[in-house]
Amino acid sequence: MIRELTYREAIASAIGDELEADPRTVFFGEDVGAAGGAFKSTVGLLERFGGERVRDTPISEQAIVGAAIGAAIAGLRPIAEIMFADFVGVCFDQIVNQLAKYRYMTAGQVRLPVTLRMANGAGAGFGAQHSQAAENWLINVPGLYLATPATAEDTYRILRTAVQCDDPVVVFEHKNLFGLKGTIDSTAPVLPVGKADVVRSGEHVTVVATQQMRHRAVEAAEELAAEGIHIEVIDPRWLTPFDDAAVVASLQKTSRLLVVQEGPAPGGWAGALVARLCAHHFELFDAPPRLLTSPFTPVPYSGVLEDAWLPSAPDVADCCRELLKY
């Protein structure tokens, strides 16, 4: 079935289609059922599937993640929601020491088909404790797949891939993108884990960006095209595993790299990508690779400050122009 849906509706649609497809799938989290989700991204699921399969939980993030792990051990395929990605802080142990390591520590006796979803990112004025792009907190944890969908289409397909995956997947849903519209094809084949999307092709600069930053990169691409500069925008879609090959293929054309990351640079996927490419593909570069990230500060509340915190489309364009000076 093909439908026009928003990013937000694509979430409910993917969860609904998975609940429909497999009776072992259950969905739970805080206010996800009766209220339809804090972001209204799970509206209608309780009515459609009933309280056995769509459950409101207490405000207990450790118990939510732990319950998903235990339920998976017992034979279910749980989808659990952490309302804001920032709340990973209160269930970090369950994600990092339990969910991610269970299969390894038991030498494969246990596999955990758990999907963990959470609303991610800045730009909506939620302040320092409700705006973080939390993916980098989990980037150096083996045992988790990390997905960062940027469009309604990708959100739908990635969520379905996640639920069908036999290992844990953390899906970061960007709260500043919930209103984006897209065309959802519920019969499209399952998207493989770890496959990047070349969003726009070009031969001058390779720009790698996720979620909100991907859209800003596309905006910059339009601005630059008017100047005769054609950038290639790559959305990795998954941070673990990372599609290095897609970036390498692009660099072979452009020889210039800009990585745009929402969030501070230290310990992030963007810096790690640059380090890997420099180590293994140094010969491809005609210019030093650039990182464009948020400053090393918490996310501020004021609109003026938050705008300054987030890399903008003009920032992306400026970085590309500078790269082309080499």
Binding site: I69, G70, I73, A74, D93, Q94, G143
Partner: protein
């Protein structure tokens, strides 16, 4: 006590299983002590000697399909499910045929074939998981119960409270047994915990609480049997406080100097194995000679298991990369 459990307390049909199981744990850990002394155990190891009746009595109620989660002090709990002592020794020695292929170690004994879903080294973290396993069982209407052991000290960690609350609100078939050995590492319970009856914590989660002499294997078997029946009948969880004592230090590096003089001796006089042997004699179920024959036989079994484990191969280096994800 209900009539049926009084009848079972007579134990004519089960005493050999209970006795052998307690002896197996005791002798297994004697060897672990010796292995540690000769430098063959990496890291640390936490012995449960003195607490055997609690795990054996409780696990004697497990049926196929039930699930049991334990702590890093989990040798006894996992052996009590029927796990192989050879595989357990091999795990401690880091060998390939170990319970977890040598990837877990002493603190992470897991044997899914016997329902031992994991031993956890993060205090309290297994409780949300055990509760989740109970949710899985409830959802699948499998009739299974989830059993978890946990320490007295763990009743002060958030995961304990989140887990109990979720178990209470969802009326899950989970039985949590607090192994109250009166110390959390080197701190006596009274120094960390403002109440002395840990079972009182059940009340605030709408959960039934029971107290039992944790060094009386039949008493534990009875109280857990009743709790399992309630759980299987849909009558929700039980928190059981089992009063017991560890004969050894917290871990192998701990000589236990913080114990007041005479305390250990008073508990040694209540050794759960000797008490059970006395009971068997008193009730004319088995005399000293018969019990002695069991000691010999289990002793020989453990010696052979250790022998076999020592002869087992080390893991191949490639195993490092297996069972991470994918």
């Amino acid at each position: 006590m209900t009539a049926v459990y009084e009848a079972q307390a007579r134990c004519e049909d089960i005493w050999e299983t209970l006795l052998d199981s307690m002896l197996r744990i005791r002798y297994f850990e004697n060897e672990v002590k010796a292995l540690f002394g000769s430098g063959l155990v990496r890291g640390s190891t936490h012995l449960c000697q003195g607490q055997e009746a609690t795990v054996v009595g409780a696990c004697s109620r497990l049926r196929p399909g039930d699930m049991m989660a334990s702590t890093y002090r989990g040798h006894g709990a996992v052996l009590a499910t029927g796990a192989s002592p050879t595989a357990a020794f091999a795990e401690i020695l880091g060998r390939d045929p170990g319970l977890c292929g040598g990837k877990g170690g002493s603190m992470h004994f897991t044997d899914l074939t016997h329902g031992a879903i994991g031993s956890n080294a993060i205090v309290g973290a297994h409780l949300p998981i055990a509760v989740g396993a109970a949710f899985g069982a409830q959802h699948l209407k499998s009739g299974a119960v989830s059993l978890a052991f946990t320490g007295d000290g763990s009743t002060n960690i958030g995961a304990f409270h989140e887990a109990l609350n979720l178990a209470g609100i969802w009326k899950l078939p989970v039985v949590i047994v607090i192994e109250n050995n009166h110390y959390g590492e080197y701190s006596p319970l009274a120094a960390t915990t403002p109440i002395s009856a840990l079972v009182d914590r059940a009340k605030s989660y709408g959960i039934r609480g029971e107290v039992v002499d944790g060094n009386d294997v039949l008493a534990v078997r009875n109280v857990v049997g009743e709790a399992f029946d309630r759980a299987r009948d849909g009558n929700g969880p039980t928190l059981i406080e089992a009063d017991t004592y560890r004969f050894e230090g917290h871990s192998r590096s701990d000589p236990g100097k913080y114990r007041p003089p005479g305390e250990l001796e008073s508990w040694l006089a209540r050794d759960p194995i000797e008490r059970f042997a006395d009971l068997l004699k008193e009730r004319e179920i088995a005399g000293t000679e018969i019990v002695e024959a069991h000691r010999q036989q289990v002793g020989a079994e453990i010696a052979a298991a250790l022998q076999a484990a020592k002869a087992a191969p080390e893991p191949q280096p490639e195993r490092l990369y297996e069972d991470v994800i994918g």
